[in-house]
Amino acid sequence: MKEYREKMEKIQPSPGLETAVLARARAGGGRKGGFYRVNKLTAVLIAAILGIALCVGIGASAVHLRSVLIPGVGITDVVVPGESSKIWVLDEVVPLGSKQIDYILLYPDEGGYSLRVILTNGPEEIDVETGKYTVSFSNGLPKDKAKETSFFGTLTAVLPDGTTAELMALDGDPQHASGYYNLDSYACKNISEQTSFVLRSPQGDEAAVTLVEYIEKERVIEKSNADLTVRMLPFAKGSRYLLYDGRFTLLDEKWVPEVYNIPPIDEAGNKLTVSVYADISLGVDYVAGDFETLIALKQYPTERIVDCSINSAKIASNYHFNNDQVIPLPVDIPSKGERVTFEEPVLLFEDGEIKFYVESMYWKDDLLRLKIAYTRYLENGFSVRCRPMYYLRAEDGTYYTSEGGSAGGMSTDDMTKGEDRFCLADKEGMGETIYERIRTGFGDECGIYFYCMNVRLQNWG
């Protein structure tokens, strides 16, 4: 464990994190209880509104649920075509016993859905008990004198097929006036956008919830061999879009304050579609691709406005790799148990200004791992050396190549920005490709840069 400690002591927060947090906090980082502004964990974003009548078991009033669609979910922003999460925002809070349901989140999880119910307790302070699936609240007493008052104990969902399932208390915010309850996906397989279910407190109070249809405005991911084509949402006149984590996201003025001064995409009022192609981008803070229109981006923290279109075509034409490029491996494969490191990295191949080197090779779990470094020169003169990792399987002449890329770089602000996107292609080196993540850097900063390369290493037998 001494080794663990020694290694962990070397780990430091990435540069710029504090700046990113402060910038987001200044930009209006959230509100208490109720509904939050754009927040990676809860993936809150309003894209559509629908009304629904909610029948409450104990009460008389009808409550409207607005269903919205959030493209992507969670921090990692797993990009899978068709997946999305949905959150139901209540126009009025739904009473459940002495508490209230603030909103409900339904998101894809392990082939089904997970349901999260967020309850609020108004202005009272809350202490989260660390016991099993229990949330306790102190009702206005000073924390050091607070007695744990059983709030809900166990919140139960009565599912459409009549079975019941407990919702696990998840809240980690002892001072926060809300409790999070999560229903595991295994219990949620019968829940979809059209189902009804009942939430029940241990005191027997119930609230009936019906999730109804929603309007999808989904980001569609298309892939074409080594290209990543991201077709964005259609832009409506007067809308403001935030370039957030690699996506253009509609900002709803009601819920999100004006933080990012992105001008209307088309001042003439035309609806536009933007396609972004993943090619090598040399610079930082702009989007490489084939744009139909110019997009101005506001960046943190320097607030530069970057003209994207001029650079994109140049980049797209110069640095797009041929899918069928076959690279013979210039070095001998090590034996299993042997790790070979080259004092001088061996040139693997070069393409224009970019050179790829093999730095080391070793076996791990029946995979031959190559450490490949490449050099790239940025337009602002910085040279960046990156090390993507490629997994290969050498077995009876078959192999896997990696498809992915890295676009780390140094900005003129000396901030490091990076993104990791890597996947294991099928054994032909093409086909189904999954991109784990596309991100712009820290937080909400603008500027996508990414590339995709499909290199097939020659079968060495």
């Binding site: 290694k7 906090a25 964990l41 797993v78 099993k132 980690g172 790790r339 997994y391 996947c423």
Partner: protein
């Protein structure tokens, strides 16, 4: 909540939060996100604490929950993080991160926080149980099993022969 207070909290606990997030996720970029989420929650909720220990425990708790949510929301794929040694003085850190990642990915997600909080933050099993919302007996069991798994892992790697050409 003031910016000064937020900034002070990040300076005092930022590294602690980051390392725990890294221990749980095994990924620097995920740790970046968790870090931001934790301190933005701190900003939003503006909690009052009885003591520094209370504040730290709150942050650790929120960190584990955020990292856990990340783990739950992610669709699992065979992927690997791209390590970027930028600039050169981070080579050592990048290597440490990679080695830790290799180590941690052998552990189930639930064990990683336990190992980190015990061996790095030097918390007792009772304190860890409090932060993670588990029973103390569960924490002890997870610690024992994680130790055994890490020991097996480290023994295996020392059998590898290094060749420099």
């Amino acid at each position: 909540m003031t910016e000064e207070r937020l900034e002070a909290a990040m300076k005092q606990y930022g590294t602690t939060v980051y390392r725990l997030a890294f221990a749980q996720s095994g990924s620097r970029v995920d740790a970046d996100d968790v870090y931001q989420e934790v301190f933005l929650r701190y900003w939003r909720t503006s909690p009052d604490f009885a003591s520094d220990e209370h504040e730290k425990a709150w942050l650790l708790r929120v960190t584990t929950n955020c990292a856990h949510s990340l783990h739950r929301a992610r669709v699992r794929r065979a992927t690997v993080e791209l390590n970027e040694a930028i600039p050169d003085h981070r080579d050592e850190e990048a290597q440490a991160a990679e080695e830790l990642r290799d180590l941690l990915e052998r552990l189930p997600e639930a064990y990683r926080a336990v190992i980190h909080l015990h061996y790095f933050e030097e918390l007792s099993t009772a304190e860890i149980a409090q932060i993670l919302g588990r029973r103390e007996g569960t924490v002890r069991m997870q610690l024992t099993r994680a130790r055994r798994m890490l020991h097996d892992q480290m023994t295996e790697e020392t059998d590898e022969k290094e060749v420099v050409k």
